[in-house]
C-alpha cells in the first residue's frame, strides 16, 4: 500500500488508528504487527512470506545469541546465518538478474534470467533486521524476547516500504514502553500532512517536467531545457523521498515512536560531505556503522581510509538499484568525498559561502543525471557514459541551442512550482514555524492546523484527479 492512496488515507489509516488507540497497551504491538502485515501484503501478497521468514530467522538468531552468551562460536554462527539469509534475499531478488544480464553481455553467455520480482522495501527491511542481529552480537542492545514485539519492529508499517532505516537500537525502548500524548499525535499529524503535500503536490507535479525531458533525444536538448529537466528531477527526488520520510516519521509519532530524522535540508549544504550528512541520513549512518567502521574506518592510515571510503560509496551506490548507473553515482560521490578529505574540503572552507554552495549543488545535480538520466537499465557501460556526457554536454550548449520553445513553455508552466521548490528546499518555512511556536503567537498557532488541513484536502484532490480519466472517444 502506498501512503498517497485513497485506500490508505481513508480506509487503512482511520481503522488502524482507531483500533490502535482503543486497545490496551499490551495489545498495541499486536495491532502494529497485524496492520503491518496487511499493509505490506496489500502490495506484496506473496513475498510477504519472505519478510516473515526473514523476521523469524533473525528473531531466532537473536534468541540464540542471547542464550549462548558465553559461547562465541554459536554466537558467530547465528550472526553469520542471519547475515547470509538477509544478504542472500537481497542478492537473489535484487541483484541476480542484473548480474546475469551483465555477465551475458560481457562474456557472450546466455544464462537465462529468472526475472524475479523485487519485493517492495526489501532493501529496507533486510537492513533493519540485520542491524538487530549485528548490534546484539556486538552487545550494544538487549535481546527482544517477545516474538510479537520483534515482528512489530520489522512490520511497523510507517517505515517498512521506504525508510527511514530504523535500527532496532532507535526504537528498542519504545517497543516496550512508549507514551501516547496529544502533542505527539498532533505533531505526528502535522508532519504526516507535510510529507503528503511534498509528495503529492510538489514532487509529482515537478516530476512531470522531468518525465517529458527524459523522453526527448538528449543530443537535441537545448541548454535551458537540459537544466530545467534535471533541476526538475533534483526537486522531484528530494520532495518525493523526504516527503515519504516525513510521512513515516509523522505516522510513527502518531503511534508513539520517535524515528530518526532522514533529511536535513540537503540542498543547503556547502560540501559533498555535508550533503551526505543531510541526505538520507539513516542510510549513511547504517553504512558507517556496519561497513565503514568494521572495515577499519579512518584508523588504519590514509590509504586504507581512502579505500574504505571507496568501498562504502560503491556499495551505497549499488544499494539504490541493481544497475551500473547507481554504482557510477555512488563512486562519483565516493571520489568527491575522498578529494574533499584530501584537500578540497580545506579550500571550500576558505571560499565565500555562495561559491561552496554552488559547487555542491551543481555537483549533486550532475549526480542526478547518473542516477536517473540513464535510459533503461543498460548493462552497456559505454552507452551509460555516453548518455551521461551527452546530457551534461547539452547543459553547456553542446547541441548548439541555448534556449528553445520547450524551455520557455516549461518556465511559464512550471515557474511557480519551481519557486515553491526552491522555497521548500530551504529552511525558511521551518524557521517561521519554529518562531510561531516559540513566541506562542496564538492566532498563527491556531491558523497552522487549518493550513495543514487545506494541504491535506488539496492532496486528496490531486490523488483523486490522477484517476479521473475522461474516456472521450470524442464521439467517434
Amino acid at each position: 500500500m502506498v501512503f498517497s492512496s485513497l485506500t490508505f488515507l481513508f480506509a487503512f489509516l482511520p481503522i488502524t488508528l482507531i483500533i490502535y488507540y482503543l486497545v490496551p497497551f499490551r495489545a498495541k504491538n499486536v495491532v502494529i504487527l497485524v496492520s503491518g502485515l496487511i499493509f505490506y501484503a496489500w502490495g506484496e501478497p506473496i513475498y510477504v512470506f519472505a519478510m516473515i521468514l526473514s523476521t523469524f530467522i533473525d528473531y531466532t538468531a537473536g534468541r540464540l545469541i542471547d542464550k549462548y552468551d558465553d559461547n562465541p562460536k554459536i554466537r558467530k554462527i547465528c550472526l553469520i546465518v542471519s547475515l547470509l539469509m538477509n544478504l542472500g534475499l537481497l542478492a537473489t531478488f535484487k541483484y541476480l538478474g542484473f548480474l546475469i544480464d551483465s555477465a551475458n553481455a560481457w562474456f557472450g553467455l546466455s544464462i537465462p534470467n529468472p526475472n524475479l520480482p523485487l519485493p517492495i522495501g526489501i532493501s529496507f527491511f533486510t537492513f533493519q533486521s540485520m542491524s538487530y542481529t549485528i548490534d546484539l552480537y556486538r552487545r550494544n542492545i538487549r535481546v527482544q524476547k517477545s516474538a510479537v514485539n520483534f515482528m512489530a519492529f520489522v512490520t511497523l508499517f510507517p517505515q517498512i516500504v521506504a525508510g527511514p532505516i530504523v535500527r532496532y537500537e532507535d526504537v528498542q525502548n519504545e517497543l516496550d514502553h512508549r507514551t501516547l500524548s496529544e502533542k505527539m499525535l498532533g505533531d505526528g499529524i502535522s508532519r504526516f500532512i507535510t510529507g503528503l503535500g511534498k509528495k503529492v503536490l510538489i514532487a509529482n507535479n515537478i516530476g512531470a517536467l522531468w518525465t517529458s525531458v527524459k523522453a526527448m533525444e538528449y543530443s537535441e536538448l537545448s541548454a535551458a531545457t537540459a537544466w530545467l529537466g534535471i533541476l526538475a528531477f533534483t526537486f522531484q527526488i528530494y520532495f518525493d523521498f523526504s516527503g515519504y520520510s516525513d510521512m513515516a516519521i509523522g505516522l510513527g509519532k502518531m503511534m508513539g515512536f520517535n524515528f530518526p530524522e532522514n533529511f536535513n535540508y540537503p540542498y543547503m549544504s556547502h560540501s559533498i560531505s555535508e550533503f551526505w550528512r543531510r541526505w538520507h541520513i539513516t542510510l549513511g549512518a547504517w553504512f558507517r556503522s556496519y561497513v565503514y567502521i568494521p572495515l577499519g574506518g579512518n584508523r588504519k592510515g590514509l590509504p586504507r581510509t581512502l579505500l574504505n571510503l571507496f568501498i562504502v560509496w560503491a556499495v551505497t551506490g549499488i544499494w539504490h538499484g541493481a544497475s551500473w548507473n547507481f554504482m557510477l553515482w555512488g563512486v562519483y560521490f565516493g571520489v568527491l568525498i575522498i578529494l574533499e578529505r584530501l584537500f578540497l574540503g580545506k579550500w571550500l572552507e576558505k571560499l565565500p559561502s555562495f561559491i561552496s554552495w554552488l559547487y555542491t549543488f551543481v555537483l549533486v545535480v550532475f549526480g542526478w543525471i547518473m542516477f536517473d538520466g540513464v535510459k533503461a537499465n543498460t548493462v552497456d557501460i559505454g552507452d551509460m557514459f555516453s548518455q551521461v556526457f551527452t546530457y551534461i554536454g547539452a547543459m553547456f550548449g553542446a547541441n548548439g541551442v541555448l534556449a528553445d520553445n520547450f524551455a520557455t513553455n516549461a518556465l511559464v508552466n512550471y515557474g511557480i512550482i519551481f519557486a515553491v521548490c526552491i522555497f521548500g528546499s530551504s529552511d525558511i518555512m521551518k524557521n517561521i514555524a519554529d518562531k510561531i511556536r516559540e513566541k506562542k503567537l496564538s492566532v498563527l498557532q491556531y491558523a497552522m492546523p487549518f493550513a495543514q488541513t487545506a494541504v491535506m484536502i488539496a492532496s486528496v484532490a490531486y490523488i483523486t484527479t490522477s484517476t479521473y480519466n475522461p474516456f472521450l472517444y470524442f464521439n467517434f
Binding site: S5, L6, T7, L9, F10, A11, L13, P14, L17, W42, G43, E44, P45, I46, P117, E182, L185, G186, D187, I189, S190, I193, L201, N205, N405, F406, T408, N409, V412, N413, Y414, G415, I416, I417, Q445, Y446, M448, P449, F450, Q452, T453, M456, I457, A458, V460, A461, Y462, I463, T464, T465, T467, Y468, N469, P470, F471, L472, Y473, F474, N475, F476
Partner: protein, 403 residues
C-alpha cells in the same frame, strides 16, 4: 469538565474530521454506475469470492476453492487491491468536486493545459501536439487506393481545422502546438486520386465569429455552415446564403467534451443552433443502423439528446456505423460520406442538395463496405474528418477491406 483548546487538539480534530467524513460519506451516499463526464462505466465493487462456486459449495474445501486466489495474490496491476482503489476513487464522495479543486490549483500554478485542453479567455481548445506520420500516411494511401478502385465515382477529401488553428493567434507559439494548416497542406499534397476541398480559408476569414464551441471540440452549426459554403463549388451545388435560414436555439446550456476534461465551470456554456430553411425544409427519412438494429427518424435532429449531457449528438444521433438519409430533393444526386462526427452538423446543410446521403463511420465497421452498399451507386464520395481525429485515427484503413 476542564477543556482547553490547544493547537494540537485542533489539528487532531480537523484531521479526524477529514479522515472519517470522507469514507463515511462515500459509504453512505448512493453509488452511480456511470460517469457522464468521463463517458464510462464506473467500477463495480471487486468481488473476492466467485459467487457461483460459493453457492454450489458443499464443504469447507469448496468454499476455499471459491475464493479468487489469483485475484488477491497477483502482483500485476489488475489485482483485487488495485481494483479496490479504483472502486474507491470512482465512487469517492464529491469526486468531481475534488477534480475541480485540483484542476483549479493546477491552473493557479500557471499551467494552461490540463488533460490535453488549453484554456483561453472563456474558451477551451483541444490541442494538436503530435501525431504519428506513419498512421497518417496509411490513411492517405487507403483513401487514394479506394478512389482508384472506383474510377467512375468522383471523390473529394475535406480536412476540417479545429479551434486550435482558428484561434492560433491567441495561443503563444512556445506552447509548441502544431500548425493544422501545414498538416492539411501536407496531406493534400500526398493524395492523387481525390479532389481536395479547402474549408480552412473560409473558416479563418470568420475566425472572430462563434464557429467553434467553447466547451466542446466540435464546430458550431455556423462553423459547419462556412465549410458547407466552401465546399459548394467542388461538390457542385449552390449554397444557400445565411439569410435563407431561420436559426433555432436548441439549447443554451451545452457543456461538451472539453468541459468534461477540465470540469471548468467558469467557461460560459455553449449554445446549440439548428439552421432551418425559411422557405421550408425538404422532408427527410433518416435510418440509423447500429450494426444490429435500424432506427428510423423523420428529422436530422434527435432532440432527445438535448436533455442529456452529449447534446451535440442531437445532430443525426450519436455515432453509428451507418446512417442513411433520404430526402425529397428531386435531383437524383447521392453522396457517400466517409466521416467523423464533424460531419454530423454539416449534414443538415448538405441534405438540402442531395436525394440521398449515406454516412459511414469506419471506426465502427469491421467489414468491407461492400457488405452494406455499392459505391458505384453514388454520384459522389466525400471523405471528411477533423485534423485531430484524422491524425490519430487508425481505423480508416479498413475501407480497403472487402466483405
Amino acid at each position: 469538565m476542564n477543556f482547553k483548546m490547544t493547537p494540537y487538539k485542533l489539528m487532531i480534530a480537523l484531521f479526524a474530521i477529514v479522515l472519517l467524513a470522507v469514507p463515511i460519506a462515500t459509504a453512505v451516499l448512493p453509488k452511480r454506475e456511470m460517469s457522464e463526464n468521463e463517458n464510462r462505466a464506473l467500477k463495480s465493487f471487486p468481488k473476492i469470492i466467485n459467487e457461483k462456486k460459493a453457492e454450489n459449495a458443499e464443504n469447507i474445501g469448496d468454499y476455499i476453492g471459491a475464493v479468487r486466489w489469483d485475484y488477491i495474490t497477483t502482483r500485476d496491476d489488475d489485482s483485487w487491491m488495485d481494483d479496490f482503489e479504483t472502486y474507491f476513487s470512482d465512487h469517492l464522495a464529491g469526486r468531481e468536486s475534488w477534480v475541480k479543486l485540483s484542476n483549479g490549483i493546477t491552473s493557479l500554478s500557471g499551467k494552461k493545459e490540463i488533460n490535453g485542453v488549453y484554456t483561453l479567455d472563456d474558451c477551451m481548445v483541444q490541442v494538436f501536439k503530435e501525431y504519428d506520420p506513419d498512421v497518417v500516411d496509411a490513411s492517405l494511401a487507403a483513401i487514394d487506393a479506394f478512389a482508384a478502385k472506383f474510377p467512375d465515382v468522383p471523390m473529394y477529401f475535406m480536412l476540417d481545422p479545429t479551434a486550435q488553428e482558428i484561434l492560433s493567434s491567441q495561443i503563444p507559439s512556445y506552447a509548441g502546438y502544431l500548425s493544422e494548416k501545414s498538416f492539411i497542406d501536407d496531406c493534400y499534397g500526398k493524395v492523387k486520386n481525390v479532389s481536395v476541398i479547402d474549408c480552412l480559408s473560409n473558416l479563418s476569414v470568420h475566425n472572430s465569429e462563434y464557429i467553434f464551441y467553447r466547451t466542446d471540440h466540435h464546430w458550431t452549426s455556423l462553423g459547419a455552415y462556412y465549410a458547407y459554403a466552401a465546399a459548394a463549388k467542388s461538390l457542385g451545388y449552390t449554397a444557400y446564403g445565411q439569410s435563407a435560414f431561420n436559426i433555432e436555439t436548441a439549447s443554451s446550456s451545452f457543456r461538451g467534451t472539453l468541459y468534461s476534461k477540465t470540469l471548468d465551470d467558469s467557461i460560459t456554456p455553449d449554445t446549440i443552433s439548428y439552421y432551418h430553411l425559411a422557405q421550408g425544409e425538404p422532408a427527410v427519412k433518416m435510418t440509423s443502423f447500429d450494426g444490429e438494429n435500424e432506427t428510423v427518424y423523420d428529422s436530422l435532429y434527435v432532440r432527445s439528446f438535448l436533455d442529456q449531457k452529449s447534446k451535440y449528438d442531437s445532430f443525426t444521433g450519436s455515432n453509428a456505423p451507418l446512417v442513411t438519409i433520404e430526402t425529397d430533393v428531386d435531383n437524383g444526386k447521392s453522396l457517400l460520406l466517409i466521416k467523423d462526427s464533424y460531419a454530423h452538423s454539416l449534414v443538415p446543410f448538405l441534405s438540402k442538395h442531395y436525394s440521398k446521403i449515406t454516412m459511414v463511420d469506419m471506426r465502427y465497421i469491421n467489414f468491407g463496405l461492400d457488405k452494406y452498399l455499392d459505391v458505384n451507386d453514388y454520384s459522389q464520395v466525400l471523405f471528411t474528418f477533423n485534423v485531430i481525429s484524422f491524425s490519430s485515427d487508425r481505423e480508416l484503413v479498413k475501407i480497403g477491406l472487402t466483405k
